[in-house]
Symmetry: C2
Amino acid sequence: MRYSHKLSDAVHILAYIEIYHDDDLSSTAIARSVESNPGLVRRLMAALRTAGLLATQRGTATPEVTRDPTDISLLDIYRAVETDDNLLHVDDKTNPQCIVGGNIQETLREAYATVQAAAEAQMASITLASLIADIWQREQQKTQA
Amino acid sequence: MRYSHKLSDAVHILAYIEIYHDDDLSSTAIARSVESNPGLVRRLMAALRTAGLLATQRGTATPEVTRDPTDISLLDIYRAVETDDNLLHVDDKTNPQCIVGGNIQETLREAYATVQAAAEAQMASITLASLIADIWQREQQKTQA
DNA sequence: ATTGGTTGTTACTTTAAAGGTAACATCTAA
DNA sequence: TTAGATGTTACCTTTAAAGTAACAACCAAT
């Protein structure tokens, strides 16, 4: 398949809502920044809403991030929008008659779980606030030059 | 796209070659264990050979793992077979005119790199030898019951 | 040397998940 | 009432992976 950038777009949306708090926050306006389309933006916002990270109101373009950005991690956003959380995937069609085929699935599942845990621990340590701060810092470095 | 299980199949192949060292090691035999087809097995073996993990000889079904399994990590295999090493992907089409769109790519690239590093460190700590040992252990637990 | 079997490689098809697009019911606010 | 927004769904397109097949190159045994 294509590589997913749902996580990237979701962070984008949340950062946009925080940074352009007093401007147009319609899905159309956000889609212009993401260079995508309003439908996709609304779908991602729906996922963020389901995860309790975003509050929206039908009919009005007034989305609000529900928690303090210091209290929202990259992992929260990842889990909110990615349908399959797994970074690595076991081949679940192997020959059970074979010593390898009959056992490797569980072996790898366990190994991949530790990799997943390591990645998630790192994701948990990155906050939306720090990402927004980094965006601001890069912007300021531009205008200084 | 489909989720890749190239890494899983590559581990399967290497484990198979080690465990069935004195049996039929043709791509056809291995494909039966992977429940796939010889073409795919040979393609993965070619990638492992390019990475220096496997030695093969045209015409004869005599593949050999080149390094000691304690010296081959899951990361080595991952890098050998995955065309795109990145676990997370930045959306590289965002509006540069916008504060968010113009800076988020670099911000996320940096954040994702730390997640990648955490995952890779864990992958580096898992050896082919330990995976094979785990497969054996599971097999023995079966026959004991 | 011929034969049967194997690898190495490539081209093509199929599959599945992501993303693009559009439509429309529902809601809000002026 | 109306213009514009969201929420949701359905369908199409794209893309990387995996399946399939073919065949030249090679090996080993007879």
